[in-house]
């Protein structure tokens, strides 16, 4: 839950500062290492933990409801396209390793550059279609559903 940084592992590179969605990972000016400046604004989202190249950041459950002595560690690998977790219980009875894919393609390769697509024709501009449609939005990819095509009207009043 709130993150903390191990003194001997952090080299002050600032990757965590750069990624934290809550702006709470900052560099201590004297020690030149990162720390969590505002634990009660930490969502334990693990963004900084995953981004740290030295596994210097860990999480200790919120003091007001989580007892000490547990561990949830993670290693995210963009090249392999996987994320690996290890969960250890306080009482030592459970020690789980879990692996999941994070992408099915080499990073960023499957995303089109829309600037390179041919410009939409005027009838497409004037239609309700979005880029790449009507692909995927209807049976046989034929047409975007409308009220008319689906036999519907909008009526004022109480109808359920």
């Amino acid at each position: 839950m709130p993150t903390f940084v191990y003194m001997t592992r952090c080299d002050g590179c600032g990757q965590c500062v750069d990624i934290c969605p809550s702006d709470i990972m900052h560099i201590d000016k004297t020690l030149r290492r990162a720390y969590n400046i505002e634990p009660n604004m930490c969502w334990e989202c693990y963004s900084c933990v995953k981004a740290c190249p030295h596994h210097a950041i860990d999480v200790r459950g919120y003091a007001d409801f989580a007892p000490l002595g547990h561990s949830v560690r993670v290693h995210r690998d963009e090249e392999k396209g996987t994320i690996a977790w290890r969960i250890k219980f306080r009482n030592g009875k459970k020690d789980m390793e879990l692996l999941a894919p994070i992408t099915t393609k080499p990073w960023g390769t499957g995303i089109p550059q829309l600037a390179d697509e041919s410009a939409p024709a005027k009838d497409m501009v004037d239609s309700e279609l979005l880029f790449n449609e009507p692909k995927y939005v209807a049976m046989n990819d034929n047409a975007l559903p409308t009220l008319k095509s689906n036999g519907l009207t909008l009526k004022e009043g109480v109808y359920y």
Partner: protein
């Protein structure tokens, strides 16, 4: 103060806030605006920002129309039932007919979506939900947005929208500051698509101390969607429709996959099914149209989320808590057990941490559930947000003013939490709304609607002074005291947030009063809010980080004020289990089968509220 002013000029489409809505907008804008200048201003880092920063384990809005699974109108009927009728059905239909296009593209981009090996369709968790390995959902959609945008400004806290000085009620861009350098950023733009977030942390949270960060919706969701748009004079709708979530206790881990896929279920503290016994009295409160337990299985209507909360809350109040999730049966299957844990690691790691810390193994122990503090947002089972135009081919006259997803401020569009009346959009629907807004924004520009915008130097200079005022207040007041945080001249952002949360909880129906309020309480609350507004002028920021918190607080305040006004206006209890108007405990279709629409005057701060007609999709056969 020595902060530089950095002006980004000639922008066509400015995306404010790049979560799922904003990334969809930036991505799509490039297709319709080949040579247009598209710029993103994001409070954090676009790779991990917004509500999906942590990842997701499911996409909760996917029709599967091409596989014959659902039609858009099926989604509308479902969202309508869940929200007790209060949905902008034109917007919901429009989102639903496009959403599959977004989801299939996510798969093309590399998002791992689980498949049903027998049918080749996406693996369903429930009728609407599909299962994904979504740890990198946000980085993937961010990549798409970055490819389309000319520039991405990370770490810009947008504080205000800029208004055209030559034409009333027309947008002209936005301003804010860089939370690293402190510099003042001005974005002059023909259109703005507001993709900022809904609001966590405006009602007192159940957790105290450190745990206050473990809110259901992200702590960085500061209600800026509403704060920015209300301040610009945009009309808002359904702001009373806050949401309360039944979730795993303390960690607020999601329950969707547990109910739908793992087939776990709830029991009270003495091992009984408890929901059904509250339903007869509840049917009395809301009417048979909304809860018909005898015929519910025939009509295939879901029991609305709020009504299930109602049963939960009442059972606990009757002394038969806690409510447990019965996991011990499902977790005997090792495959389901693994899914149960993956589900948390994919979107709420903190719940896994909590169970590890408290030795809760759901295989041998049924975990506790709780009902959360309320949240104000517009993409889950609730529909707060701006009053927006729908699409031309669907919307009736009252819902249409020229451009899809445009607010009542010209050139200001919304997506995701920003758009009102569109619950159950979730991640994919928010992305889709961004795409719709982007196409409309490009059309608005091409139609010449953004011609002749002027922004005076005075407006820019005045806003700069306003933005940095909390630092000025600190500098002036700080040396009057020896040390510490107690000062007669100012309060800091944390102290202000504490006051807001207490006020909202006690007067506007938080968990501390069992979600109960009434006219008298709301009026007292509004009086206190007016005085709070004066103190907000004396908020102090010691550094740039505190300045960020100060502006988040101001956005949360504007959101909260709107919630108060809307809750006061709607004199009925429309969503028992979300909140109760103790002075009007029944659902009242005769007077309140309407959407509520508010307008806050930019100059005076005065609110006016009105009822807007509610249209329903009616088919020739079924209805």
């Amino acid at each position: 103060m020595g902060y530089k002013t950095i002006i980004e000029d000639d922008i066509d489409v400015l995306v404010v806030g790049a979560g799922l809505g904003g990334t969809g907008a930036a991505f799509e804008a490039r297709y319709w605006g080949k040579s247009k200048k598209i710029v993103i201003a994001e409070k954090a880092n676009i790779d991990r920002s917004g509500a999906v920063a942590q990842g997701l384990y499911a996409i909760n809005c996917y029709m599967g129309t091409r596989f014959g699974e659902n039609n858009p109108e099926d989604h509308v009927r479902y969202a309508r039932m869940d929200l007790m009728g209060m949905v902008r059905e034109d917007l919901a239909f429009d989102m639903a007919r496009h959403v599959d296009s977004a989801v299939h593209q996510f798969e093309e981009w590399g998002l791992p979506i689980m498949k049903d090996v027998k049918t080749g369709t996406y693996l369903r968790e429930g009728r609407w939900q599909i299962m994904i390995h979504g740890e990198s959902y946000k980085p993937i959609v961010a990549e798409a947005a970055k490819k389309s945008a000319d520039k991405v400004f990370n770490r810009i806290c947008v504080t205000h929208l800029l208004m055209d000085d030559s034409k009333d009620n027309r947008i002209a861009g936005a301003v804010g500051f860089n939370v690293r350098t402190g510099n003042y950023h001005v974005f002059k733009s023909k259109t703005v698509i507001c993709g900022a977030g809904g609001a966590s942390n405006i009602f007192k949270p159940r957790s105290v101390g450190e745990g206050a960060g473990r809110v259901w919706y992200a702590p960085w969701s500061s209600g800026s969607a509403y704060g920015l748009m209300i301040d610009a004079g945009a009309k808002m709708t359904q702001m009373e429709n806050r949401i309360v979530l039944a979730r795993f206790k303390d960690g607020y881990g999601p329950v969707g996959a547990y109910f739908l896929h793992l087939k776990t279920y709830t029991q009270n503290g003495i091992g009984e099914e408890y929901e059904s016994k509250w339903f007869p009295a509840l049917t009395e409160m809301v009417g048979k149209e909304y809860l018909d337990t005898e015929n519910q299985h025939l009509s295939h209507k879901p029991i609305p989320t709020c009504l299930r909360n109602h049963a939960f809350i009442n059972e606990v109040n009757a002394g038969r808590g806690p409510i447990h999730m019965i996991t011990m049966e499902a977790f005997q299957d090792p495959h389901l057990e693994e899914i149960g844990w993956h589900n948390f690691l994919g979107m709420t790691v903190g719940q896994a941490v909590l169970w590890a810390a408290t030795d809760v193994d759901p295989k041998y122990e049924n975990p506790e559930l709780t009902t959360s503090e309320p949240y104000v947002m517009g993409s889950h089972a609730t529909g707060c947000g701006a009053w927006c135009s729908g699409p031309e081919d669907v919307s009736p006259d009252e819902y249409f003013w020229g451009y899809n997803r445009m607010t009542t401020v010209e050139g200001l569009f919304g997506a995701g939490d920003a758009v009102g009346g569109t619950p159950h959009a979730f991640s994919s629907g928010s992305f889709t709304e961004g795409r719709l807004a982007a196409k409309a924004a490009c059309k608005y520009i091409d139609d010449g609607k953004a011609n002749g915008i002027t922004v005076s130097d005075k407006q820019i200079a005045d806003l700069k002074e306003t933005i940095y005022k909390p630092m000025e207040v600190y500098t002036v007041g700080r040396n009057e005291i020896v040390a510490g945080s107690v000062n007669p001249n100012y309060i800091n952002p944390r102290q202000g947030l504490d006051r807001l949360q207490k006020l909202m909880d006690e007067y506007c129906g938080g968990f501390g009063v069992n979600y109960m309020t009434n006219e008298k309480l709301l009026q007292i609350g509004l009086k206190k809010m007016a005085i709070f507004a004066e103190d907000l002028e004396k908020i102090a920021a010691e550094d740039i980080h505190e300045l960020l918190r100060a502006w988040e607080l101001k956005h949360r305040f504007l959101t909260s004020e709107s919630v108060f006004q809307h809750t006061l206006f709607r004199k009925e209890t429309r969503w028992p289990g979300y909140y109760y108007r103790g002075d009007a405990m029944k659902l009242d279709d005769k007077n309140w089968h309407v959407l509520t629409v508010s307008h806050r005057d930019r100059k005076t701060g005065e609110y006016t509220l009105a009822k807007a007609p509610l249209y329903h999709l009616v088919g020739e056969k079924e209805d």
